[in-house]
């Protein structure tokens, strides 16, 4: 993308990079780096749900932690509502923390077992020094109701709740300060299907009710299809495809996206015999020494000489459909 994003962009990310240094010896000399995220450019539009998919280790969580500024980027630029937040320090970020919140994957470890639900969900008020009208307790009880828990749960502890209920507690905490952007990292992947559906519907209702903007990170392509307006596909620290939901699932243009979609088991035994599956060879290469040129070339059936020499830039193939491939479909 050449222009800095359409006016409705809530968050704009340009050339975002995160390299984790690998050090050796007592002097902690740097001998290399994990290129977890390597040059992402995209925007998140007000009111939309941007889904982010990709296989384990491709940099999804790192991206989420960068845009919520829980991690310091190595390079690149992050703008929230037009304001550069790339290098804001702790105090500079404090007002921003209200607007940008994160929901984590594991409803078991992300809640402090020694704190009551009231303390956990009320924490953002204390941290931000905010006194809601009517008091923290009343506000927290309202939040519990909003996410489908009972206000009487206020004095209970996390271990007294099921996985789905704990995820609701995490969501209530994230919503306490009425954020504009919620980044959810695998919000339902630890949950059973029947509970997963409850939480997916809850996120959906809350978006409508509160006008939230979501970035939802998940490896489950069925969940992503259901929740997203637009979808970004990542491979080894790079964005390989970014488009609206319908185009991605009906006309994927990047070979990796095609392979990924064809690999998902379809819950319909009658379709079993008709399916054409693209089986990829081998494993994802190490992000410490990724392949030259196109990072997918070691597993791509279309790979040609140019693919090892030149990195394919993320370009607009059709309106609103961006792909990083020398030979898109």
């Amino acid at each position: 993308m050449t222009n800095p994003g359409p006016p409705e962009a809530l968050l704009t990310v340009e050339g975002l990079v995160k390299h984790f240094p690998i050090t050796k010896g007592v002097l902690r000399r740097q001998v290399g780096a994990v290129q977890a995220v390597d040059g992402l450019t995209f925007d998140v539009r007000t009111g939309e749900t941007l889904g982010v998919v990709g296989e384990s280790g491709c940099g999804k969580s790192t991206m989420g932690r960068l845009i919520t500024r829980l991690l310091e980027p190595t390079a690149g630029r992050i703008e929230f509502e037009g304001r550069d937040i790339t290098h804001l320090g702790v105090s500079g970020m404090r007002p921003m923390r209200r607007d940008v919140q994160m929901i984590f994957q594991d409803p078991y470890s992300s809640l402090n077992p020694r704190h009551t639900v009231g303390t956990i969900v009320g924490a953002p008020f204390r941290l931000q020094g905010i006194a809601p009208e009517g008091g923290v307790k009343k506000e927290v009880q309202g939040l519990l109701e909003l996410v489908g828990l009972s206000p009487e749960h206020y004095n209970r502890y996390p271990h007294e709740f099921s996985g789905g209920q704990r995820q609701r507690i995490g969501i209530a905490r994230a919503l306490a300060l009425k954020p504009k952007l919620v980044v959810a990292d695998e919000p339902v992947s630890a949950l059973d299907v029947s509970i997963q559906a409850q939480v997916v519907n809850l996120l959906d209702d809350l978006q409508d009710e509160l006008g939230l903007t979501y970035v939802i990170i998940a490896h489950d392509l069925s969940v992503i299809r259901h929740v997203s307006d637009r979808i970004a596909v990542m491979y080894l620290g790079k964005l390989v495809e970014l488009t609206d939901r319908t185009s991605l699932y009906t006309a994927p243009a990047h070979p990796y996206t095609k392979a990924l979609l064809s690999a998902v088991p379809v819950p319909d035994p009658r379709r079993r015999t008709q399916r054409k599956r693209i089986l990829l060879n081998g494993d994802v290469p190490s992000p410490i020494s990724p392949p030259s040129g196109c990072r997918f070339r070691t597993r791509c059936w279309k790979s040609a000489e140019v693919c090892s020499e030149q990195e394919p830039p993320l370009l607009e193939l059709r309106t609103g459909h961006q792909v990083a491939c020398h030979f898109p479909e």
């Binding site: 059973d192 029947s194 997916v200 069925s222 088991p265 379809v266 319909d268 494993d283």
Partner: protein, 347 residues
């Protein structure tokens, strides 16, 4: 159960596995029955804690704690395993029946090379020298798609990627040509592209060896890909079983409807909300009386006389649908009506 006929190789009848714990008696498996034929695949689905793994470990004779109370019948190729001599069961395990787990690291020893472990598994059941056994190990690693198997055979498990470890464990399970293979969530920890490779591998191997396979998973997509027959578990019991096609196209149990309604679809554009099941699965110490699903079931009040809350529904044949059984007090005509009029149109 399916049209892919071979003789029944594994037959399980009224299997119960209860555990004595400090909190009370956990009824992990509470009377389940099924058959698996040679050359066919049974898929067992259910949410976490529904008793899937306890069932499979029970078949394999792997509940060795004194706190486990096991009853019922497990016939492997006609031979009764419940109450059989533990040495006999140990000999069958790894030869006639084998298991692959979700986490390969739990099945493999970190301090021995992958090859050494496959060699060991082979030599337990075959009187051959190390060189012959090693040749067999390399051959199997090759068969499951490990590149450069003659070199990788000397690697340690941690030197393999997750997908490769899963393949190595499959190689180890197959080394003695088992006639029954149980795969407990074999791909849950893997990425979809790797999952696709492993599912293909299991399917090919089954074709090649004509073995009976049980695949246990919480993923309805995985069973739809692989299984000839499906068994749905809820709170330690089977609520519905039958041919895969019947379970997906004309399910006759409210819990199965709930699973299908909860599932976001990869294969179609769907703008409607999901239809979740309310509440969460019960603790197996305090299983609800009557039908275990009644606190979560939208139809619990439909059958006359509150039957649902006092009497446990037995698994009965679905009229006119060969091999299809379900356990629900609702009248069959009523269930057919609900499925065709209320549920199917929303999926």
């Amino acid at each position: 159960m399916s049209e892919q006929t071979g003789e029944v190789f594994l037959s399980v009848r009224d299997l119960k596995i209860h555990f004595d714990t400090d909190d009370g008696l956990v009824k992990s498996v509470d009377g389940i029955s099924f058959d698996v034929r040679r050359g066919s695949t049974l898929g067992i689905v259910g949410e976490s804690g529904s008793g899937k793994s306890v069932t499979s470990l029970g078949v394999m004779g792997l509940h060795r704690t004194a706190r486990a109370r096991i009853s019922g019948e497990v016939h492997l190729d006609g031979e009764e395993l419940i109450g059989a001599d533990p040495d006999r069961v140990r000999r069958l395990r790894g030869s006639k029946m084998a298991m692959i787990f979700q986490d390969p690291l739990s099945a493999m020893h970190p301090y021995f090379t992958v090859g050494a472990q496959i060699v060991e598994a082979y030599r337990v059941h075959h009187a051959v020298d190390r060189r012959t056994a090693r040749k067999r190990a390399v051959e199997l690693l090759d068969r499951v798609g490990i590149p450069q198997p003659d070199r990788r055979v000397d690697d340690y498990p941690h030197q393999f990627s997750g997908g490769m470890r899963q393949r190595a464990m499959i190689a180890m399970a197959l080394v003695n040509n088992p006639e029954l293979l149980i795969a407990d969530e074999p791909t849950t920890a893997l990425d979809v592209t790797v999952q696709a490779q492993i599912l293909d591998l299991i399917r090919d191997l089954q074709k090649e060896f004509g073995s009976a396979v049980i695949i246990i998973t919480h993923d309805l997509g995985v069973v739809a890909e692989l299984a000839d027959d499906i068994l749905v578990m809820y709170a330690g019991r089977c609520v519905e079983r039958g041919p895969a096609e019947a379970l997906f196209t004309r399910p006759r149990h409210p819990y199965t409807w709930g699973l299908l309604g909860s599932m976001p679809r990869i294969d179609r554009e769907q703008t409607d909300r999901l239809i979740p099941v309310k509440g969460s699965p019960p603790s197996l110490i305090n299983v609800p009386e009557g039908c275990a699903f009644n606190p979560r079931c939208p139809y619990a009040d439909v059958p006359e006389g509150g039957l649902t809350r006092t009497e446990r529904p037995e698994l009965t044949p679905v009229p006119g649908d060969d091999g299809h059984h379900s356990a629900c007090h609702l009248a069959h005509e009523e269930r057919t009506r609900i499925w065709t009029e209320e549920i199917a149109p929303k999926l």
